[in-house]
């Protein structure tokens, strides 16, 4: 391969999943029109969901899911030891995700609810960065393939990788959508990190904050907006709690 006459090398990747729906990994096989070109940038060394070959010589580990069992901690540490770059891949890995909703209840009560009396090992859902060092995070439920492509191309070309710092609102305005607040819906677009092309408000449903907080967000002004529009504070908190991305703000408030 070469890019502008400069020889580029494939990056050696491993893709791993922990407690999750595997929807983020699946995005790697989506966007079929550019899939052969995308795959040509990668040397896939380990990817259980699509390949029966397993090698441990990867440079970049994409890690999907949150951690909810002790054997997962061991497996994650082994991956960290082998990878030069560890990427928290998707909302569960970055923030704990929807799995973290169970952290509000005692874990034995959660087990009793689903498995009657059978003892099942589980612990509070933890994001990846609480267990091992994370070098880069790609949030999203699921991750956006466009963004993943941008990150991979940057890695191949040894250029800087970064995520948008501004909120989803900016992308939503660019798509000329009617603001959901004007339709009486609480949308987390004003405080959530962009990079998804405002896919939810474009589909006329609220942004639920899967990408976590934007940088330098104005949280008090957001709470004021909900209150000015006479919308429900309880509904706002329910949305903020869905993916565990706004834990710091919610705690601060209560």
């Amino acid at each position: 391969m070469n890019h502008l006459g400069i020889k580029t090398e494939k990056i050696r990747v491993g893709s791993f999943d922990f407690t999750c729906c595997e929807g983020c990994q699946l995005q790697l096989a989506n966007k079929e029109s550019t899939l052969p070109e995308f795959l040509s940038l990668l040397d896939i060394r380990n990817f259980r969901e699509i390949s029966s070959e397993r090698h441990d010589d990867y440079d970049i580990a994409l890690v999907e899911g949150s951690i909810t069992r002790s054997d997962e901690i061991e497996r994650l540490r082994a991956i960290r030891a082998r990878a030069k770059v560890l990427v928290a891949f998707g909302t569960c890995a970055c923030f704990g995700g929807v799995n973290s909703l169970k952290n509000r209840m005692p874990q034995d009560e959660v087990v009793r609810e689903v498995y009657d009396g059978k003892p099942i090992e589980t612990m509070s859902s933890t994001r990846i960065a609480d267990i091992v060092k994370v070098d880069f995070s790609i949030p999203g439920c699921p991750v956006s393939k466009d963004e993943v492509e941008r990150v991979v191309v940057s890695l191949v070309n040894h250029s800087l990788v970064s995520l948008p710092k501004y909120p989803v609102c900016v992308e939503c305005k660019q798509r000329l959508n009617t603001c959901l607040f004007d339709l009486g819906v609480i949308c987390l677009g004003p405080i959530t990190r962009a990079g998804c092309d405002a896919v939810c408000p474009t589909g006329k449903t609220a942004c639920l904050g899967c990408r976590g907080p934007a940088e330098d967000l104005n949280y008090p002004s957001f709470v004021q907006l909900v209150s000015d529009k006479a919308l429900s504070a309880a509904e706002m908190r329910e949305k903020l709690g869905l993916y565990n991305g706004f834990g710091d703000y919610l705690e601060h408030e209560s």
């Binding site: 699946l26 006329k204 449903t205």
Partner: protein, 424 residues
């Protein structure tokens, strides 16, 4: 020859989620064959409790990364029935089209990425891209078509955006629908190519008589809602799902097992095909005849062929739905509703088989109880007993350890299990 061997396949590759196969043979006799799911549970039934009905389908969508549209629509159906909400006809059509998109992408993913490499002794789809570029291209064209239908109808390929309680929040534009209609026409050639290719593969010869469970509604091939039926003659109302599934716990698996009239039963494309052959589009029945597939087929390896037959049905039926939507003004897409206390079951034919969500709401419209029974959960016992019968047959035929292993992993993959979904 009296052989001894132990197969211990941990975290089987090229399936969704984490499952193990154990086979133990002593002096040529099968001692043990087991299918053990070791996935970490996520406790969705516990975490959805207390959530508003409006938000609940966005949470249950996250049960599965492959069939998120099915999970969303199953929760929506349960909650709409519980709260007596009637979605408009236009929204109902858009939802049916979304189901077709999801099933097409899911079947294409399974057929080309997960199942096909086994038949050619390859570790994954990548070398197939070199050896059979036209076949992989056809597979990608079908998968892309499925995803494009999902994106047009729900806003996104995985974890839908615009499927909401009472209908849909946004309808696709007429222009988009026309483009989809044209894309379907153009991709028939890809489906024909795929069908030809799978026709050249040797499907293992194995039969274990089983009970097939699916939806049936008497007028169309099943998708959203209907009667619960089995190939042994059981017919039940949608709300009676518990008497169809009879979930029970087993020691060696984090996913539950289910049964009906026999030791185990099967759900999925082959079950739908066996129970609803008469409701398939004629083009799909023709495709089935070309594969020599007719109901009731008891070879689980034919599930992949049944998926391919369903792809023919999906392309033809999607065209009919789009034509109806093109004749519609697409304005009446969402019914207003008031929260209400109630309880009901939603049953939907997800790509991997019949999916149940049972939901109870209180007067504020909060979910007070939820129960989700996943297609793969309903297949786990069947996979387990199939493995036993298949390993015994392989030993009788004098197959080697390697040959037995290959047949066993192919068997599990042919069910297209969605393991993280089954544990949820």
């Amino acid at each position: 020859m009296k052989v001894d061997f132990d197969l211990d396949i941990r975290h089987l590759q090229r399936v969704e989620g984490h499952g193990n196969i154990r086979i133990s043979v002593r002096e040529g006799r099968l001692r043990e064959a087991a299918w053990a799911v070791v996935e970490t549970p996520r406790f969705f039934e516990a975490i959805v409790k207390g959530m508003s009905a409006e938000l609940a389908p966005f949470l249950t969508s996250r049960i599965c990364g492959i069939c998120s549209i099915s999970h969303t629509l199953t929760s929506i159906r349960a909650l709409e029935r519980a709260m007596e909400i009637e979605p408009p006809e236009t929204a109902r059509l858009i939802r049916l089209l979304a189901m077709h998109g999801e099933t097409l992408q899911s079947h294409a993913l399974h057929l080309f990425f997960l199942a096909a490499p086994d038949f050619l002794d390859l570790p994954n789809v990548l070398p197939l891209m070199q050896s059979h570029p036209d076949i992989v291209h056809a597979g990608l064209q079908l998968k892309e078509l499925g995803n494009e239908i999902s994106i047009a109808t729900t806003g996104r390929a995985t974890h839908p955006v615009s499927l909401v309680l009472g209908g849909v929040s946004k309808a696709p534009s007429k222009q988009r629908l026309k483009e989809l209609r044209q894309m379907i026409g153009e991709r028939r050639a890809a489906l024909d190519k795929a069908s030809w290719f799978f026709g050249t593969l040797r499907i293992p010869d194995f039969v274990r008589e089983t009970e097939f469970i699916s939806l049936r509604n008497g007028s169309t091939y099943p998708s959203i809602g209907g009667d619960l039926v089995s190939s042994d003659g059981v017919v039940r109302d949608e709300n009676d799902y518990l008497t169809m599934t009879n979930e029970y716990l087993v020691e060696f698996s984090t996913s539950k097992f289910t049964k009906l009239s026999r030791q185990s039963s099967a759900a999925g494309a082959l079950a739908r095909f066996n129970n609803n052959f008469d409701r398939l589009h004629p083009a799909a029945r023709e495709a089935a005849a070309a594969f020599g597939l007719s109901p009731v087929c008891h070879n689980p390896f034919m599930n992949s062929v049944a998926q391919l037959v369903e792809c023919h049905h999906i392309l033809s039926d999607a065209e009919l739905i789009i034509d109806r939507l093109l004749d519609d003004d697409l304005l009446d897409i969402r019914t207003e509703y008031k929260p209400k206390a109630g309880a009901a079951t939603g049953a939907v034919e997800a790509p991997r088989g019949i999916l149940y969500h049972h939901m109870e709401t209180d007067e504020q419209g909060k979910v007070v109880k939820a129960d989700c029974i996943i297609p793969t959960t309903q297949n786990n016992a069947n996979i387990h007993y199939d493995l036993h019968a298949l390993a015994e047959q392989a030993l009788l035929e004098g197959k080697t350890e390697q040959e037995t292993e290959k047949l066993c992993v192919m068997l599990v993959r042919s069910y297209d299990p969605c393991i993280s979904c089954s544990v949820h």
